[in-house]
């Protein structure tokens, strides 16, 4: 009996330790940028450094000012520039191959809110919220990853700070 109790305890802690470890590993990879079918570098497009294009967000995210959804740009928007551009860069070749096959790129979704939440990009942009508040500074990131939890606490703290409505149905439906 004297041996069994510590054994059970030990076994339990091993299991708990593994679970915590596992969750941490999972969380870490979750926080990592998921591999995208085409490695799109946001910094080269949006950054204002040397060799960077300094494009405004709305150049590609066409609907962000008038729709709830920012939307991933239609492929033809990519091809407006890349259509005439010869390149030996493998990722651009990949893009052009998708286009030749007339096949949309199956991007991996990174930012999302649950289905019972209503979120309007338009309203936030019109209120003067900078994209970076939720998405991080896209001018400096190569690969996109989630930098905010986008959970209710994050939303509400900002709403409170800016005297935005906090009535439940503002976001929940």
């Amino acid at each position: 009996m004297r041996i069994i109790v510590p054994l059970i305890l030990a076994a339990f802690f091993v299991v708990v330790a593994l679970a915590i470890g596992g969750a941490n590993v999972f969380w870490a990879t979750y926080e990592d940028a998921p591999p995208q079918p085409v490695a799109f570098p946001h910094d080269i497009h949006a950054g204002n450094g040397v060799g960077q294009q300094n494009l405004p967000c709305t150049r590609c995210h066409l609907y962000v000012e008038e729709s709830r959804f920012a939307t991933i740009p239609p492929m033809s928007v990519c091809m407006e520039c890349h259509g005439n551009m010869q390149s030996d860069k493998p990722e651009i070749i990949k893009l052009q191959q998708y286009w030749e096959r007339q096949e949309p790129i199956p991007w991996q979704r990174i930012h999302s809110v649950p289905k019972h939440v209503y979120f309007s990009h338009k309203r936030h942009i019109k209120a003067g919220v900078d994209c970076a508040v939720c998405h991080g500074d896209m001018k400096v990131v190569t690969e996109v990853k989630k930098v905010r939890t986008l959970q209710m606490g994050f939303c509400v703290s900002c709403h409170r700070a800016n005297a935005a409505p906090t009535d439940c149905w503002t976001c929940h439906h």
Partner: protein
């Protein structure tokens, strides 16, 4: 270590591991971008509206289709459309389900014949074939029949516009004979009467809106007759502008009857005597605007006043008064139809009705033939009898049956059509929905047809429909690709014709149509019509004249007397199913019948006296059980549970058209009208019980004083007000808006369109018969009939009352339901833990609990998920839900208002129920705005709130019925 420490350690460690994994939601969702930007005007997540035509009945209502992310998610009436101006009925609302119906035929099918023994064991089956094989087999059969000297025939439902022209050209090119069209509600007697009296083969538009006196005889104008949505709207307009008086005569009980200003019951068959009296009155008193020639007057059926009094049961004074009121009216309108023209003397009734219309000059005003509905291609039951005879003689080769009752379940059995149909050499059905899990149905189809071709939905195809003379609805596909491997009838016919002729190039129906439209309307008018959804020519003048010689002939063989001593069964059209064609839609089954509140199943409605006579004792049965009675008449017998219908005359029973055994139906050999009045009915108690899905607990108010009557003299309009309260004035809380509603019970016609619209708008599941019986229906809004002792009925529209002092709010343990600053009783679904305390505490029974995950239970079986409104969540299991005045629409309006830096205007937010209401009985708006419509209505003399004495202070202000003298 002791037990306590052990538990502590375990507790700490476990919570640590649980906490550390909190908030992790692994997403592997993909985002697929578009290849090209979508069409002009597209904004992701925002609705686009496209025009189409409702195809649920022949009325031809214009439809505005709400398309979100390329999927149609809601149908609304097309604003300013000459027929329905923005409104839609319950079937029209539900018809979106036809597009996404999981039982749609997904490609051509044919019966699997012979083959392995194993197949025979599994019963009859339908196997898929390719379109090429299907087309080939049809062309082969067409040629084989031609060589064998047989006729190929084409039988369809009522068709108009370009498709009708295409069928004609297809028939010419392939040598197919186009049979007279079949409609269960063909108005054969009415048409025969207009043909005899005026020599026209069409049906007029009844201009109810222009009338100040409306007399309806048998016609169920608010349910299925002609165009009920339009009738409802026009009634409302006539009430507002002409102070309309509406008297309705009927031998049975109908929703229309209860909604008339005066409902009068006539003994079966006596309608003809009433009309004969009116005719004699106008002719005899020199009040006629159009005179009858002597030869016509002499051949009129003889109806002395004593006989009229005896037959109708009305006194001479009453009759004279009625005639005087009609004579005094500036714009009287008489509508005769429905059950009154579908009986043995239905032809006589229709003839006399048409004569009264002619004599009183209505035919030049309120009975409008310039906007007539073309029925010239519609046949009658006699045509089917002749067809059956040809089938029996094996004279028929290929038979096409399309857009009609393909299994002939509404066709009277005496035509012998169903039994002979298989004798055609090759039978092709054009079908949209066919449940292949239903063994009986599959058996019927595989026995009756050699090929089943799947039809595209009207929202998937190009098309048009000539609704009235000079009014054409233009329909464009609102969905880019057909959902299944289906084709439009036009495309099928063009391809068949090409193959038959061995021609090279194929023409698509869309191109064929566009060429035809451009030639007919011209480029400019076509562009405009594509925008508005319809094309309207000014109405041309029609000169009508009395067809004296034909009329004298028609009057020769008339017999007015058709009275009955015994019990009579009326087979009545159903506001939910029309003639049965809407039965495939889950929603039309789910929305209860507005008279009985029964949703699923079959039943016979009997009077209280008849129930007593039969010894039916429902009081000792548990709530939804009813006794089964056996009904017999010459032709056949049925056993059905009995519903005691208040207001039903003693010797009358009714059953809905789609529920009746066609063996019971008789035919008038003179006109081919189906006789829906069945005499010599015998009812007997079987002793068995059946459970009916009855929604209402009680259909009488008892002492509950739900709807105050004007006669009560105590309190405010006879209603008990809530006590004064110590709580602060709720209106102090509201700053900008207090959303509220008014429902006018005078104008509400109980048609249940609001209920249907709410289901579609708010992603409410259809839960099926079993759960309805258990009282687990999910409707957020319902139509509750209350019958009173004076023989009237009120339809109370019940939905969440958004109370100022809501009993539901203060019992929620998790603050999932709360009162917001705009007066709404908001429900935060993801916060709800499902205690159901709120439901228990709600005196209005308007909260609904999700006992199941309805998505898992198949409420939106694929592809129905595509019709879900993306603006509102589909509530999961264990969550309470209810009406919040279409909060998604309020949010949308506020979004627009905020963009324009202003407040929401009055009338900018229209909830789905108010939007579809044909009579504008529902008004929604801001009660803080004293200029708003809803505020003005809330100040009406007639205003009351339901169960006000409870002190809940609801935001829904009902307006009780006006007192009629």
């Amino acid at each position: 270590m002791n037990r306590r420490d052990f538990l502590k350690f375990v507790g700490v460690a476990s919570s640590a591991s649980v906490l550390s994994s909190c908030g992790v939601e692994k997403s592997t969702e993909k985002i697929i971008p578009l290849l090209y930007p979508a069409e002009e005007g597209y904004i992701p997540g925002e609705a686009m509206y496209k025009s189409a035509t409702c195809s649920e009945c022949p009325a031809g209502c214009g439809v505005s289709v709400k398309v979100v992310e390329f999927n149609p998610v809601k149908l609304e009436g097309l604003k300013n459309h000459p027929v329905n101006d923005g409104a839609l009925c319950l079937r029209g609302q539900a018809s979106l389900m036809r597009l996404y119906h999981p039982r749609r035929v997904r490609g051509p099918l044919r019966p699997k014949k012979g083959g392995l023994v194993l197949d025979k064991m599994s019963g009859d089956m339908l196997e898929p074939v390719t379109w090429e094989v299907a087309y080939q087999s049809i062309t082969d059969a067409l040629k084989a029949a031609r060589d064998a000297g047989k006729s190929n025939v084409y039988l369809s439902g009522r068709t108009s516009g370009s498709l009708s022209a295409l069928i004609d050209s297809f028939s010419r090119e392939t040598g197919v004979e186009r049979l007279p069209e079949y409609e269960a509600f063909s108005h054969a007697n009415l048409r025969a009467a207009y043909r005899a009296v005026l020599g026209v083969s069409s049906l007029p538009s009844y201009k109810v809106a222009n009338a100040d006196f409306l007399l309806t005889v048998g016609a169920d104008i608010l349910e299925t007759f002609m165009n009920p949505v339009s009738m409802g709207q026009q009634l409302q307009r006539a009430r507002e502008t002409n102070n309309l008086t509406w008297i309705h005569f009927e031998p049975h009980v109908s929703l229309t009857g209860f909604k008339a200003s005066e409902r009068k019951i006539l003994p079966p068959g006596s309608e003809a005597y009433l009309l004969s009296f009116l005719l004699n009155y106008f002719v005899g008193n020199q009040l006629a605007q159009n005179n009858l020639p002597a030869n016509v007057r002499e051949s009129l059926p003889d109806a002395p006043i004593e006989e009229v009094v005896r037959q109708t049961g009305m006194s001479e004074d009453e009759l004279n008064q009625l005639a005087q009121r009609m004579g005094a009216a500036r714009n009287p309108l008489l509508i005769v139809g429905g059950v009154s023209t579908q009986q043995k003397n239905g032809y006589e009734t229709a003839l006399l009705g048409a004569l009264v219309q002619w004599v009183t000059g209505m035919t030049g005003s309120t009975v409008d033939f310039s906007r007539a509905e073309d029925y010239s291609k519609v046949g009658n039951v006699n045509d089917l009898t002749a067809f059956a005879q040809r089938l029996e003689n094996e004279q028929i080769g290929v038979a096409f049956v399309t857009r009609t009752d393909t299994l002939f379940r509404t066709v009277p059995a005496q035509t012998r059509l169903s039994e002979n149909f298989a004798k055609a050499a090759f039978k092709v059905a054009f079908v949209d929905i066919l449940d292949q899990n239903d063994k009986e149905l599959v058996k019927s189809y595989s026995e009756m047809y050699d090929l089943i071709l799947p039809l595209s939905h009207s929202l998937e195809s190009w098309g048009d429909a000539e609704v009235q003379n000079g009014l054409v609805n233009i329909t464009q596909p609102v969905i880019a690709q057909t959902i299944f491997d289906t084709r439009s009838e036009g495309d099928i016919l063009l391809e068949l014709s090409r193959l038959y002729r061995g021609a090279e190039s194929a023409v698509a129906y869309a191109d064929w149509l566009k060429t035809r439209w451009t030639n007919t309307y011209g480029e400019a008018a076509l562009t405009a019509a594509l925008q508005t959804g319809y094309y309207q020519r000014p109405a041309g003048a029609v000169s009508l004249s009395l067809n004296s010689s034909g009329l004298v002939n028609a009057l020769k063989n008339t017999e007015l007397d058709s009275s009955s001593d015994g019990k009579v069964l009326y087979v009545v059209p159903s506001i939910r199913m029309y003639d049965g064609r809407s039965k495939d839609l889950p929603l039309t089954n789910e929305v209860p019948d507005p008279l009985s509140t029964i949703s699923y199943g079959q039943w016979i409605s009997v009077s209280e006296a008849a129930a007593g006579e039969l010894g039916l004792d429902h009081n000792n049965l548990i709530h939804k059980q009813r006794e089964v009675v056996r009904l017999e008449s010459g032709g056949g017998a049925m056993e059905l549970p009995a519903w005691v219908q208040p207001g039903m005359p003693d010797n009358i029973a009714t059953i809905h058209r789609e529920q009746v055994d066609p063996a019971l139906l008789d035919v008038d050999p003179r006109t081919g009208e189906t006789l829906t009045r069945i005499d010599g009915l015998s009812l007997s108690k079987t002793g068995a019980n059946a459970v009916l899905a009855i929604m209402a607990g009680k259909v009488a108010q008892g002492d509950r004083k739900i709807i105050p009557s004007g006669h009560d003299d105590h309190g405010h309009h006879g209603h008990i007000k809530g006590d004064e309260t110590l709580y602060p004035d709720p209106y102090d809380r509201y700053t900008e808006y207090r959303w509220g509603m008014s429902i006018d019970m005078e104008t509400c016609i109980g048609c249940s369109a609001c209920v249907s619209a709410c289901y579609i708008e708010n992603n409410i599941p259809c839960v099926g018969e079993e759960e309805n019986v258990r009282g687990r229906e999910m409707a957020w809004i319902r139509v509750q009939p209350y019958y009173n002792e004076e023989g009237g009925m009120d339809s109370l529209i019940m939905l969440c009352q958004q109370c100022d002092f809501a009993p539901c709010e203060n019992v929620c343990p998790v603050y999932a339901t709360y009162h917001n600053e705009e007066g709404l009783n908001v429900m935060v679904y993801n916060r709800c833990v499902g205690t159901r305390y709120c439901h228990n505490n709600c005196p209005y029974k308007v909260r609904r609990f999700n006992w199941f995950d309805w998505t898992d239970r198949g409420a939106w079986e694929e592809p129905m998920t595509r019709m879900l409104n993306p603006d509102i969540w589909v509530r999961p299991k264990g969550v309470m839900e209810k009406c919040t005045f279409c909060i998604q629409r309020i949010r949308k309006a506020k979004d627009v208002a905020k963009d324009e830096k202003r407040k929401v205007r009055d009338g900018e937010v229209i909830p789905a129920c108010a939007q579809t209401c044909p009579t504008n009985a529902i008004t929604f708006g801001n009660l803080l705005d004293q200029e708003s419509q809803v505020f003005k209505k809330s100040q009406s003399e007639r205003e009351f709130r339901v169960l006000e004495a409870l002190g809940t202070s609801p935001a829904i202000h009902y307006l009780r019925k006006e007192e009629h003298a």
